[in-house]
Subunit: 428 residues, 2 copies
């Protein structure tokens, strides 16, 4: 715990995923999955690794924001940080001059997430535990409330307790996942079919389909997927904010025959009351509203919960202020009895968020009812401790830390614009 | 209109206002009023000037974001932009890769505001009109709906019309202002008294006091100001987001004896339903809730209006996506019959927002009931067309453009970190 942070480096790492339309949806037609990647060096040699996820262009802005935060981190010891983590969180998010740029939203909050993810990684490594276990043990030893910043304005009344049975169950069976890898918007039907066939063979039972660009296309694609997976498997649809409120209701109603469990991001992520109207209109069809990957902080999640504007909370490990803020949202979701189904994919999001959802199951929700964690099958090979999926379940990570250390060779190769991958790409 | 934009430059300009505690409040204790300052060059020599306001540290992040947007602007003609301004707005705010960093919030939206403010300045200059008159004439000639992006999800049903009487009235009397210059949180009582005495002599009748750091201090300061201005002048109080919901209600209740017209920013700018609860609790005391300077886009304003969470809409010329988005908010406020009282001060905010509130009066609200525009008396000397205040009213600007061109000597002197002011400051 006495490790003193003596240096912070941040790099712009981009993967040219747009070339093959991986990750394409109705609003993000050509994403290059990227990250502002942070490494903390300490005086004793231990290092912490963190990142925030981006879509390519503009990653340099987040890098610039991380550099602006660096002075608040370098020189502090881990002990100093975690003994008043609430204060440290506020130092990063409420600097008298910087907070004007947010507060707690957009670029500066993404940068905060990258830095804090690295601090949590460092902490877990210093304890020799995977992050989920660090959290679980903190609850067991009742260190939770004093150590973690849960600075929400709602009084969290839920009782947090550890069930050793649920921990053993996770270690044996893992946490259920669903796949988004089969049905990106830019994939042709033949590719959809092939990926779906492969996924069914590998044990997947829950599938998400991107929709929202063209209704007739969506009907054809949803019909195709529903036919392939049969009536008993689960289908979700995701519009990535493409519609206004009335459009969302009519469009999803047209897709209701395919029995989707939820419609994800039907409209603007800031339109809380719009989401409430959509939730109300779709409830009779048995379709819930899921959102969160662009819900920019815990206060916004509070609005969504208070307004009954969502039926599935999709936390994001890099949009919110790291573990600190995600814990607040997990507790609020529990209070409102709304299941948490994390957003993942991108680069590193699966690696990170698996820790949070394991903690949610073991210490907060103790339920798998209507719960699952997103999974997307690419870019894992660039991590030193990639996720382990068995039979469509996330298996609890064993390595110490928060699982987002990248292979140095991958970082160098994909660094923008000087890495080999980008030099090659630009010369094409 | 054929002016082609051939270059965009952006500079980090900071004024060391923290030294004398100008602008200090409960959350921003040491602001250095700053700007990301944009200049557009065209092939015909005409230039456009725009800025977004910041508080010092982190301005370089906004500069970085403006640079990322530059490629979307340079090469376009003014004609091309304004003939599909909605499309251009979306190009800046919804780029498939960049929008992940917002969307339409935080650093990237501040950068969008700086760029679009410069485009509007260029447009108004190309027509040889101050911006407010460009807008008024667009309405007169019914060019409004086709030219301006009002991409809101609410159907704007209000009828927009120009009253020539109200235009003449503005040119004669100006738009009523209130002053925030007397009572920054960091000022000692003696300074408060002196500034208040001076302001009363200059004809000011509406005064805003910063509160929220210490209740006993606030009681003393509000009592002092109310005694000085008497029962018939107007007092407003501003907590700059310092409280949670319950705290806001009890704190403001304690200050109700001083009859404030509004409490500004009582809590987190994202806590819409919290503001609604505060509004409801304070209504019996005759105190309204005002907010907006950190309300990050039109969709958020829609939430506040739909939830009856504010009684005064405080638009900001640099937080929202320039004139385009501010017009949407003016129209929504009109629909909900809530008065607009713009946020100003900082650097350049008075210069910019006066155009919008003049337009609001002449073309939208046609009322001065419960309406006034903030004024803060510093840094105006750095502009080529500074605001003109007469008898506590903003006099309509006459020079072509959007009034935010800075004197080149001021820019060079205050450029961060290389300007003389900062070299001197750092050597102290």
């Amino acid at each position: 715990m006495l490790h003193k942070i003596i240096n912070l480096t941040v790099r712009d790492v981009r993967f040219p995923t747009s070339v093959e339309q991986h990750g394409s949806d109705a609003m993000h037609t050509d994403p290059d999955y990227s990250a502002a990647y942070v490494v903390l060096d300490t005086d004793r040699g231990l290092r912490g690794f963190g990142l925030t996820f981006t879509l390519g262009k503009g990653t340099e802005i987040v890098v610039c924001a991380v550099e602006a935060l660096a002075a608040l981190v370098v020189g502090k010891s881990l002990q100093e940080i975690v003994s008043d983590f609430r204060g440290f969180y506020r130092l990063l998010t409420s600097d008298g001059q910087m907070r004007w740029l947010g507060p707690e939203k957009g670029v500066t909050h993404l940068a905060t997430a990258a830095v804090l993810n690295a601090v949590w990684d460092l902490w877990a490594r210093s304890e020799g535990k995977p992050l989920w276990k660090l959290l679980v043990d903190m609850v067991s030893h009742r260190k939770f409330r004093s150590k973690v910043c849960v600075q929400d304005v709602i009084t969290i009344s839920c009782s947090v307790c550890v069930s050793s049975g649920s921990r053993d169950q996770m270690q044996k069976e893992g946490y259920p996942a669903y796949t988004t890898s089969c049905a990106w918007l830019g994939y042709p039907d033949q590719q959809l079919k092939q990926l779906c066939t492969d996924a069914l063979k590998s044990g997947w039972t829950k599938f998400k389909v991107k929709v929202g660009a063209d209704l007739e296309d969506d009907i054809r694609r949803c019909r195709l997927i529903r036919q392939m997976i049969g009536p008993n498997n689960t289908l979700m649809i995701d519009a990535n904010q493409r519609w206004d409120v009335a459009e969302a209701i009519s469009w999803v109603s047209r897709l209701s025959e395919f029995k989707p469990l939820w419609i994800e991001e039907p409209t603007s992520p800031d339109d809380i009351l719009g989401h409430a109207a959509i939730s109300k209109a779709l409830a009779p069809l048995g379709i819930g509203v899921a959102t969160g990957e662009q819900c920019h902080n815990r206060v916004m999640f509070k609005q969504f919960l208070q307004a009954s504007a969502l039926q599935f909370v999709q936390i994001d490990s890099c949009r919110l202020g790291s573990v600190n803020e995600n814990l607040a949202v997990l507790l609020m979701a529990h209070k409102f009895q709304v299941p948490v189904c994390p957003h993942a994919g991108g680069v590193g999001l699966c690696e990170l968020v698996q820790h949070l959802i394991l903690f949610d199951y073991i210490c907060v929700s103790a339920s798998l009812d209507s719960r699952m964690c997103e999974y997307v099958d690419h870019l894992h090979k660039h991590f030193t401790s990639p996720v382990v999926i068995q039979d469509a379940h996330y298996m609890p990570p064993k390595d110490p830390g928060y699982s987002c250390e990248m292979l140095e060779a991958s970082v160098q190769k994909h660094q923008y614009p000087e890495g080999d991958v980008w030099k090659l790409h630009m010369n094409k």
